[in-house]
Assembly symmetry: C2
DNA sequence: CCTCATCCGTAACTTTGTGTACGGTTCGAG
DNA sequence: CTCGAACCGTACACAAAGTTACGGATGAGG
């Protein structure tokens, strides 16, 4: 099996796993079920991914690359336009069934290691792209905050507690209209806030890190 | 066993369960382990709580009552002072080990029913109290937003995506100083925003609801 | 074509947890 | 004090999942 076909095969397996994950959740998805759905064998899965956690690590990383690609292809020449286009896409992805399922897997992960993968593959790749747009706004004199802080504020206003409520099942998936409206509101509020310097000298960029659960 | 002693006993069992939950996580906590820790029997647990999901429902509800009590006892006569006192307390509770563990349980719950319990027992009891404070601010002419919308915005700025990152393990628990600074910033930003009417006529109060996972 | 690594489909093994059952003890009501 | 409900400690039955193993088939390289 060549590297190219192995990569294609890996994506086939990942897609089978995503489908099962969204149907049954983390607890209802066994390695054997993935193997059957993907027409692969248990042995291949363990050989390629090491163990169940390893498979989930790969699922998170593959999904994150897909998300980043979607964001990089968002239309908009002007940073304001780019943010207006990017917001609904990002929110849709964050609240979508796949991301929710992967977040649930990380929440349920007994090894406690998937959180760091989420942090590194997900947020840590998305946020700099958003910060870049705020940096461009700063160049236009429209942003008096550090770009990273402005990006973090934007995500707070965009996602807020919607994501955790989705992940815990406390909230259904909002409609496209609701998501679009929220993204629009978040951008309007954020642009308004960052036009003036931050109100406090307190640390504005939260730390990333993760804890071992055991 | 009287109602009083049964309630006391229930809290004993709950405390044993919280301790185990925080030590081992949802997946590592069996009913038998709870029974042994609480010096109860499996049969009693199943008789009192129905099944494992029922036990978790009770744990969520008992914890929510405790949270609400803590918030109701927050100091502050003036709504502004009350919000300033309430913010760090609420954020500390949301990011604390117990709440994180319960959110993880809901995320991992195969029945998909614990999310609704979280929504009803938790957020739906906390948010009206916050909205009440914003309502009082409106009475002082300091809030041009609907109180519920102002409260939701406040929580977005207070917790933002910190909670989901804690639940997924992507982020360690912030220090008390970090939490206090964030609460302070959230209040300052929120008060600044709500002094003027909302920028959009879009729906500002997100819907609550939950989905069945299967 | 041949060879060898690896993939597939299936099976086996071990462990663990959920939920039920049971004998003895305890508690509360009459 | 007596009696019955229920609680405790322990055991049991069953199911399912994680992981490893194995014989035959497949694919890639020489």
């Amino acid at each position: 099996m060549t590297d190219t076909s192995r990569e294609a095969r890996t994506h086939q397996i990942a897609n089978a796993a995503y489908a099962l994950l969204e149907e049954r959740g983390y607890g209802g998805m066994s390695m054997l079920a993935v193997a059957k759905r993907a027409r692969a064998s248990n042995e291949t899965l363990y050989r390629w991914f090491g163990d169940k956690t390893g498979l989930f690590r790969a699922l998170i990383e593959i999904n994150a690359r897909s998300v980043t690609e979607r964001l990089d292809n968002a239309p908009g020449d002007d940073p304001r336009e780019a943010l207006a286009a990017l917001g609904p896409i990002l929110l849709g992805l964050l609240l979508g069934d796949r991301a929710v399922a992967l977040n649930r897997a990380a929440a349920a992960d007994p090894t406690g290691s998937l959180g760091a993968v989420l942090a590194e593959a997900g947020r840590a790749t998305v946020l700099p792209r958003i910060a870049g747009l705020f940096s461009a706004l700063a160049g236009q004199g429209a942003c008096a905050w550090p770009p990273e802080a402005a990006a973090a504020l934007y995500v707070d206003l965009l996602a807020g507690d919607w994501q955790v409520r989705r992940v815990t099942g406390a909230m259904a998936r909002p409609s496209e209209e609701e998501q679009a409206a929220r993204a629009q509101r978040a951008l309007a509020l954020c642009l308004s806030i960052i036009a003036e310097p931050p109100p406090l000298a307190a640390p504005l960029v939260p730390r990333d890190g993760c804890i071992n659960k055991d």
